[in-house]
Amino acid sequence: MIPELGHFALILALCVALVQGTLPLFGAARGDARLMALAPTAALTQAFLVILAFLALMQAYVASDFSVANVVANSHSAKPLLYKITGVWGNHEGSMLLWALILSIFGAAVAIFGAELPDSLRSRVLAIQALIGVGFLAFILFTSNPFARLAPAPPDGNGLNPLLQDPGLAFHPPLLYLGYVGFSVTYAFAIAALLEGRVDAAWARWVRPWTLAAWCFLTLGIALGSWWAYYILGWGGFWFWDPVENASLMPWLAGTALLHSAIVVEKRDALKSWTVLLAILAFSLSLLGTFLVRSGVLTSVHAFAQDPARGLYILCFLLAVTGGGLTLYALRAPGLQPGGLFQPLSREGALILNNLLLCTLAATVLLGTLYPLFLDLLTGNKVSVGPPFFNATFVPICLALFAALCVGPFLGWKRAELWPALAHLRIAFAVAVVAALVAAFAIDQSSTLAAVAFGFGVWLIVGTLAELATRLRLGRLPLRESLRRLRNTPRASIGMTISHAALGFVVLGAVATGAWHAELIRTLKPGETVSFAGYDVTLQRVDNVQGANYVAERATLAVTRGGKPFTTLLPERRLFVVQRRQVAETAIQTNLLRDFYATLGEGDANTGWTIRLYDNPLAPWIWLGAALCALGGFVSLSDRRLRIGAPTRRRTVQAAE
């Protein structure tokens, strides 16, 4: 009964989305207030219905209702409750429903927080949002119905992919989708602006918070995915340039570019058509990622349910959304009035450089991801594009971006001088060079590139802090005065400082872990000791452990340093009985400066067990830095000036005076 209710709610949601996607558009075109007023109500109704459908599916999972085919395929009665819940989106059908859910919630959020938007703009945004929703809901209902019943119901289910039974991966998809889908709002704003034929500072101010929110979630989602890969895949890597990872990186890069170009529109009324294009691209790249992951066009370690028929549907949808948007862009964008003028050397110029480099990065990833496909179709030649290619092409452009990143905030709008900005960065430059030299001579003499990249990481942190210090006139004014200035600094600027410095931490973590980790692979019998990276590691014993839905071998590794106990690590190798699959449970001891990392391999008491040990310096900084980066975004989001409707409120206050 409840699954049917969910199915019915989903069908109703599709009907509501159809109404929401058409009538308000006519209303906005004709200036009919009643039709426009339909949009917010419809958005809230649609959200309510999709939430209902989602809860219905969740109920089927929690109650282990094995008459529902999707539950049978992806759940098992012995699974812990957490994974029963997260199992809802651990499969193709459920994850599409999650997409639709987040999409409709974003629509409802625009309806609620967008009360201050002009009526025609709001109704157009909501209508576009609904049209995207129509695509997804129809996709779910016609090709991937999660509520399909199975008769007769089997006694138990097939269980969830063990790799997904992990807290990190449980919350990775929702965060990622919040990012992907958040860009749909930006897209809807861009299309609405093209329909209205007007892009101005007010528009940029409305778009920025949505972009920022989506960007923050996407940052967190990517970081969580990378962290998961780090501790579950068992060889200490954190980014593999897999098509699925690339698919999430491309919208992130486009979204980052958009965040920066929207500032130029807001402050200087320039770069309008470019910003609109980026807004369309950020969401299009999100959809492209979905297409690549689910269509079977490319292969990936993290294979999703791959089905060419679904692939064709998503391709058509992608064409409708992106193609429609870009056609409108080609028709309308030339008519947008170019805005404020500026010299190449200025804050605007720096932000253009930022956009140029970020877009080149995105193009590098796109080309690298799709090139094997293009070449195979055109010539039949097979090539692989893997980490060494991206390290050779992506990293140099990144370094150029990092070099410019610290200088940009010192440049004034319209026209600026380079030398005064560089003079402020003297100390940061010196510190960075020293750091690079120390890295090159004291830490590792073999890798020059790593030392240079390390210097760039330090440059990012110190350079960003130097900008803050200059703004607060730290050391030139009394401390009290500087603190007062800090309090008065807009949150958006504080957010920028946090995010830029955080990037430096990510770079340091990635460089140190990637280039300077130590590794030991050894077969140990119980009682044997090896020394590794200044520690002595003893395999004390290997026990058999019984988990909720798995059996495991658990090694007890006693780690001592100079005879004193340091820690005990308990890596496991789990065998999930239902799926007959093994998963490594790594043991990590971290002190936030380095990770001591151990995995347990195959073996038995006679031959010993294969143990892998890693010492990963600064590894935690990668994900802490990424989280800090997102935090900077949230701080910026809390800026009063960015809060939705703030400009209008100020206007009403003035009117009241």
Partner: protein, 180 residues
């Protein structure tokens, strides 16, 4: 049909906890072993998806790792080892595609884009700068009309404004009223 099911089976195999390089495979000479690891990370496991042979548990990956070590022990250079693998499995095994005619677009596509866009932007900026030469100064009649329109509250401070707009404002030749 078969190909697909085999893919899935292999995928499962590859996704196992990757204790790929086994202690028994490793070379005694640490320098040689380090080179072998380096090469292994740049060679693709031919039955896995985007995994290097260093990270893969597949049978073939095991054979390839052993072959890499045998070649190194026989005194091959890194390039010779790569050539050995390419002769058997084609460019497909190289995770870093070789730079040749058919990968030209891959290697140079994005940098070329950057270059073209950068040059185009600089040209556009230069053209705009020449295009925005100051408009001809106002004649006396226009000045009077403008000051009437602007009234008292408008106050141009040319010395404070900067940039292209500043130039234009300066060319208006307006001074604050109380100055005149």
């Amino acid at each position: 049909m078969w190909a697909r099911s085999q893919c899935i089976a292999l995928l499962l195999l590859c996704a196992l906890p990757a204790l790929a390089v086994e202690p028994t495979e490793m070379l005694k000479d640490p320098a040689l072993e380090a080179r072998a690891r380096q090469i292994g990370q740049a060679l693709r496991c031919v039955v896995c998806q985007n995994q290097s042979i260093d990270d893969s548990q597949a049978e073939v990956a095991h054979d390839m790792r052993r072959a890499v070590r045998e070649r190194l022990q026989a005194g091959d250079s890194d390039d010779q080892v790569f050539a050995y693998m390419v002769a058997r499995y084609g460019d497909y095994v190289l995770l870093k595609p070789p730079f040749k005619a058919r990968t030209l677009v891959l290697w140079l596509g994005a940098p070329a884009l950057l270059l073209i866009a950068g040059v185009a932007l600089l040209f556009a900026a230069r053209r705009r700068r020449t295009a925005t030469v100051a408009p001809p100064p106002l004649n006396e009649e226009e000045r009077v009309r403008l000051s009437v329109i602007l009234g008292d509250q408008w106050d141009f401070h040319p010395e404070r404004s900067e940039g292209a707009c500043g130039k234009q404002e300066r060319s208006l030749g307006l001074r604050p009223r109380d100055d005149s």
